[in-house]
């Protein structure tokens, strides 16, 4: 069954509560104002005799009342909503990572275990799932109405989204940011399975190599190892254990080797040159697509720090 209206994620209930409150509040205000207009229109219609106290031109206390009360209400709503928003934006620890590559006009998903799918995404219920997303062309937006979550997927930059599904089932996955001709066709399904069923599904893909293994193959195929292997003659940094560590750059600044940095190092190698090295690494833009990049990064992340390897230049 395809469920779309009722919330199915851990955040949906709280969100719907805020939505309900807003509806109630604006409903009361709207009905109040409509009632007042209606009443005045009838009582004070032209030609109708009724007591009209001296017309007032304005009244400071009244004005201040209807300035300050809405302001306070608005502040309350604001605080309520940003607390939820911070929850939506902060990925909880221990979330299960899945990698999403969007392109005109399809969703490609890769699981860390190596299984890949298009326009379908299998996830387990009861466990936070974290999507790391990037686009190969224009901006898309990953939207599952039933989960009440949405995040734009940008070219050139990783964005993240997380959710925890509470009920097994099939849910619409929609592209919400206009992305060209077949924007409305860029739809898919999120299939939420019980954990055991999910584990079975994950293993059921035949003998697919996991993401890091695929990355390792790419690392050799594209000649990275020619420079970066410890035995190489070329003076290039050792990549083992690099991810997550601070890096000293040639221009004097420091940065942390996160995904974005790794991606930039491969596509725009001269953007941030490591201190102590020549900028000889060629750009691989155009040779590697976003999925390959994800695999390569997964591989780099999987490398253990080599014992005895030289410390990065401080």
């Amino acid at each position: 069954m395809n469920r779309w209206l009722f919330g199915a994620s851990s955040i949906a209930g709280d969100l719907d509560l805020l939505f309900g409150f807003m509806t109630l509040l604006s409903g009361i205000v709207a009905i109040g104002v409509f009632a007042a207009i209606w009443y005045f229109c009838i009582r004070y219609r032209r030609g109708h005799e009724t007591t009209r106290t001296l017309p007032r031109r304005g009244d400071l206390p009244v004005e201040l009342t209807w300035t300050i009360i809405p302001l306070l209400l608005f502040l309350g709503v604001f605080i309520w909503s940003i607390r939820l928003y911070a929850r939506i934006e902060t990925v909880p620890d221990g979330a299960m990572p899945v990698y999403i590559v969007a392109k005109q006009w399809m969703w490609k998903a890769q699981h860390a275990g190596g299984r890949r799918e298009i326009n379908v995404l299998h996830v387990p219920v009861g466990r936070p799932v974290q999507l790391n997303m990037i686009s190969e062309d224009v901006i898309h937006s990953f939207f599952v109405p039933a989960f009440r979550v949405k995040q734009d997927v940008l070219p050139g930059r990783y964005t993240q989204l997380w959710f925890e599904v509470e009920e097994p089932g099939e849910y619409d996955l929609l592209c919400a940011e206009y992305c060209g001709t077949e924007h409305s066709g860029m739809r898919g399904t999120v299939v939420a399975l019980q954990p055991e069923a999910f584990a079975r599904w994950l293993a059921g893909g035949g003998d697919v190599a996991d993401l890091a293994t695929r990355g390792a193959a790419l690392f050799r195929r594209h000649g990275c190892s020619g420079c970066h292997a410890p035995e190489s003659r070329v003076h290039a940094p050792d990549l083992a254990g690099l991810p997550g560590r601070p890096v000293q750059l040639a221009d004097g600044s420091r940065t942390v080797a996160d995904d974005a940095y790794l991606r930039d190092s491969i596509l725009l190698p001269t953007r941030q040159v490591v201190a102590g090295y020549e900028p000889i690494m060629p750009s691989f833009a155009g040779q590697l697509d976003e999925e390959d990049l994800l695999a390569l990064i997964a591989y780099l992340n999987s490398l253990e720090r080599r014992p005895g390897a030289a410390e990065m230049p401080p």
């Binding site: 991810p243 997550g244 942390v256 996160d258 995904d259 974005a260 997964a298 992340n301």
Partner: protein, 108 residues
Amino acid sequence: MNPDHPNRDGDRTRPNSLRTEYLLTAALLVLLGLNVASAWLPLGRWRLAVNLAIAATQAGLVMAVAMHLRSSRPLLRYLVAAAGVLVALLIGMVLADSLTRQAVPAPW
């Protein structure tokens, strides 16, 4: 004809004296020289601030003196200030956004 007209100031702005005009030009040239010099000084991150401060001073001088803002009615000064504030806001908020975007922590 229009007695309570607050905004019809006629030509209240006075012509600058010759001395003022030459002093202004001299000041602009000196500031230009300082600005050029700053490019070769080891100022590091401060260079941008120095550059902008000098440029803003030049701009302020030109507007106040050559464009007669100092002797015009206040409205014009408010308007220019508003435009300056808006540009600063635009740049400030855009940079504030890119400054506080969280670096995506390595998830693996």
